[in-house]
Subunit: 238 residues, 2 copies
């Protein structure tokens, strides 16, 4: 009888992976994942069987993993946290009686936040701007309500070719509740090769730089920039 691990590998490199995630990958005979993410962890995959597919192959990968884990120890990997826009949900939706263990990881907003300072120190939310599986009206509604509630907002999948205007539209909507000097961080490839960081404001933000490998973090009304760090105060009276 086999077992299925659903593993969040964190931002990409081995070093920000949890010790438990690394051990579970080492213990697994078969690794299932998106081709690009498999590359990230190549140094610890020696001698293992790999089942990888391209983007949009999620359902195929999950079904194959659930089939394979009947006889083998299998790891399905996601970047970030497997439970946050990762593979844990689909695996559990498709699961019948297989033994599944979800192993968490550092999600992209945490990784991006740590690079620019401490933007997520107060109440915050994660919103994906991808409308492949979510109606765009619902996405816009969530952004508006998060802005009204003065949440720090982390936007996942902020911009792709098919919806290049969504990011601008939603930052315009946030602008109705925040001043133009509100800090905005754009982090591409957070904590992995190719990392690029831009800290700007709602007034000066450059939409063109954002893509599907980026996270955009918008501060709340109390956030500020200090010596290059993006800080959201927790509320200590200093």
């Amino acid at each position: 009888m086999g077992k299925l691990y659903v593993i969040g590998i964190g931002p990409g490199g081995i070093e920000h992976m949890s010790i438990r995630a690394k051990e579970a990958i080492e213990e697994s005979e078969i690794i299932v994942g998106y081709t690009r993410y498999i590359e990230f962890i190549k140094p610890i995959l020696d001698g293992k069987k790999i089942f990888s597919t391209g983007m949009m192959g999620e359902e195929e990968r999950c079904k194959e993993a659930l089939r394979l884990c009947k006889d083998s120890t299998v790891a399905v990997i996601s970047t970030g946290d497997s439970g946050i826009y990762g593979m844990a949900g689909l695996i559990l939706e498709l699961r019948k009686d297989e033994e599944v263990e979800v192993i968490p990881g550092i999600t992209a907003s945490s990784a991006a936040g740590s690079i620019v300072g401490a933007p997520l120190m107060h109440d915050s939310c994660n919103i994906s701007l991808s409308d492949l599986m979510t109606p765009y009206e619902l996405i816009k509604k969530r952004v508006r309500l998060a802005a009204e509630g003065d949440f720090v907002i982390s936007l996942y999948n902020p911009r792709s070719k098919g919806r290049s205007e969504y990011l601008k539209e939603n930052l315009d909507s946030i602008r109705e509740y925040r001043t133009g000097d509100t800090p905005v961080a754009l982090v591409k490839n957070a904590l992995r090769d190719g990392q690029e960081v831009t800290i700007s404001t709602l007034d000066t933000f450059d939409y063109e730089k954002a893509d599907m490998l980026s996270i955009v973090i918008i501060g709340n009304s109390q956030s500020y920039i200090k010596d290059g760090y993006f800080v959201t105060p927790r509320g200590y009276k200093l």
Copy 2:
């Protein structure tokens, strides 16, 4: 010249800490933290100087860490992610010219989510119910707007003796937007000694069980329980 690491150690045990966090602790000469959290990582603290204080000693700890790091390599530790209700914000608010590196960790909602299944698979938010530094009116407003936006909601610091009714009041407010069968997970001591898990619904949730060591996760309108797992669908048409 010294250096200051601000480290999120994850849920508590060594195994869910990132490899980078563990290495930075091993490299540090002095470890600064809340007494209880220092205990969690005792196995890797041999021979190091420790500066620890009790709850509410955050400002004192941060000032001491910033003083000590002028001559030594110092690690300030938080559980979870140091940038999410952790010590990174206060350190950066108090920092003058010290060299600071923030190292992220697995935050409590990720840890709790992984234990109960995949509740955080769609847009979600973190809200702390502690009103020590945030007006309660703002907390309630955020919970209401998050409920209206159909966010999955993770409540940090859900209940303490001084505000035993806040949790019930806020779940009642969420009830105005969700049905009584909406899944609710209560996870105490997620992924560390003393872990306790209860999966219930808005109708059957037992407020008395929640405390300051717990995380409460409330599903969105699409969340459901399947074979004991709490799943929020991402939106795949299966």
